[in-house]
Assembly symmetry: C2
Homo-oligomer: 338 residues x 2
């Protein structure tokens, strides 16, 4: 177990390194933080911290930098979440309040988060899996051609074309629309399949083919679109990454474009509280020198999607976590209002 002072030293190292981006030495530490001990003592502590794997030196006789393990300890034990200042909070609210639709909410959130944290922001669209149905609409575009429109409680809209095996009458269509809605409105997407299963039986044999086609498309939409969507912003902040540029930034940009990777990352994170994944904890080559701070957000008490930021492992964790948490809360409020 590490003594109190050694933890203090680790905290000081993390803070200084995050600030200066340069390996920090024993002398600088004692000067900037009043540790009440001499550099020599700090050196001993640093040697111990290095033995435990919390810090490392890039080369002999250089200062120390935190390892992933060091950041982990810092985040878990040494750092709190820094609340935003009230002007910042007000700015968030003002900025998000102007949103007109879901796309706009997500877009504004991404820009806001990127600006606040000066890092890459990632916002997941509210998931269909955890959403409920607000309305299902069927539109006859042509005698044997329908459009299915699915509206979720979070304002997301999905549409699909349906080619019917046979023309369908307007009254039958109205009937189907009514029955469909009475069964699924307010229900979770996962419940829908079992709820509509026996619907064709209520109709004439002539129309069953069409009904089945409609249901098939509906279920297909549920499955396909459960694949989540993301919006990403603030990639220009990657340029603040470090000095060894091209090699660092390229794999990160690639990972960001592979939405699958990000979705997996967000998906693995804790459902309720904030999750911080540091460096290799991401289990992804390109993101091994980045940290991901993510949190769920939702209109009610339950999370419908996640948002977060991706930045260098050397980031201001308390500040970033504060911004992420605050933005998630406000987005939740906005969604609840709409």
């Amino acid at each position: 177990m590490l003594s109190e002072r050694r933890l203090e030293v680790l905290r000081a190292i993390v803070q200084d390194y995050v600030g200066t981006e340069e390996p920090v030495g024993s002398k600088a530490l004692t000067e900037r933080h009043n540790l009440r001990v001499s550099p020599a003592t700090v050196r001993n502590d640093m040697a111990a911290l290095e033995d435990e794997g919390y810090i490392a030196q890039p080369h002999t006789s250089a200062g120390r930098i935190p390892t992933d393990k060091g950041y982990r300890l810092f985040v878990d034990k040494l750092a709190g979440v820094k609340p935003l200042s009230s002007p910042e909070r007000r700015a968030i609210q003002n900025f998000l309040d102007g949103a007109v639709d879901l796309d706009d909410v997500v877009g504004r959130t991404v820009r806001l988060l990127a600006q606040l944290t000066r890092q890459v922001a990632v916002v997941q669209y509210p998931s269909l899996t955890r959403s409920t149905v607000r309305h299902v609409e069927l539109l006859a575009l042509a005698p044997a051609r329908l459009m299915l429109v699915l509206i979720t409680d979070t304002g997301r809209v999905e549409q699909r074309m349906i080619d019917c095996p046979a023309p369908i009458g307007e009254t039958v269509l109205a009937d189907l629309r009514a029955r469909l809605n009475s069964r699924v409105v307010g229900q979770r997407f996962t419940e829908v399949p079992s709820l509509v299963q026996d619907l064709p039986e209520a109709f004439d044999a002539d129309d069953r083919g069409t009904i089945s086609a409609v249901l098939a498309t509906l279920l297909e939409t549920l499955v396909e679109e459960t694949e989540e969507r993301l919006m990403i912003g603030g990639t220009a902040n990657l340029t603040r990454f470090g000095h060894d540029f091209p090699l660092t930034i390229r794999p990160v940009l690639e990972a960001l474009e592979e939405q699958v990777v990000l979705l997996k990352l967000l998906g693995e994170s804790n459902d309720s509280g904030m999750t911080v994944r540091i460096g290799h904890e991401n289990h992804h080559e390109g993101l091994s020198s980045t940290s991901v701070v993510s949190v769920g957000y939702g209109s009610g008490d339950e999370a419908v999607a996640k948002l977060g930021v991706v930045g260098p492992t050397r980031m201001d964790y308390p500040g970033t976590m504060g911004a992420v948490r605050a933005v998630a809360r406000y987005v939740g409020q906005i969604l609840a209002e709409s």
Copy 2:
């Protein structure tokens, strides 16, 4: 006026520089291209080309690199559009054919274009301005709350919430829905305002407030959403930019996130043919060392939106133009089918 051979020299310089990314000298030129003259002659030609502003040297006694003006001449007079190979064409078609909805089409197009050109791809969503209305739907979510759904001929869907001043009956709503659709379906968005102007007059005074609210929202949607949307991809290709990295790439990433900038750029370009904007022709600080190759695409003979790529001025223009043109054609086909 430049002699035939000097143009040939310029072409050779552009080709070599694009290939090697290094200033090209007179000796290397005569070796790689059989110009049938000696390096000394080429040097004279190069001096002339430099006087005219087509090429420049980074520093004295280095090779020459093309200027924006040089690339301009190359694109206008010296380079053709390189058609894609038939395997490439087939790959495009296969890749795009799997798309399920508009988002998917745009998403696939972006990835395809980025991969083909190894540059940043930009695809504009089909514009509402030039689209026609396929359907307008009104859904009663609550007695005094409606949702307006607008569907375009390109498959784009927009939705808005409407808070009504007074509850509206189901029959009135159906009547409104029918009248609205009969007037605007198949019409261009720009025509809609004048077509619905007198609609409230056909209804009872009680409902006119609501009808007006609906129309107001509809028109507002038309205006607001005429603001175009973009999808961007392949930003990782920016890392192939050059050596003086951070300073070059940052402003480009920033410009790409400012969708307004890109939209303006695409908007300014020629409506029908392909447009190439080179370096400072973009009239944008951050994009002064990039070129934008763009072209319109559409389901019919008329362009409904633009797509293109953003890359370093030092790019393979013939190949890029070929890819952009080919992709635009296939996307047009896909849209026409759906």
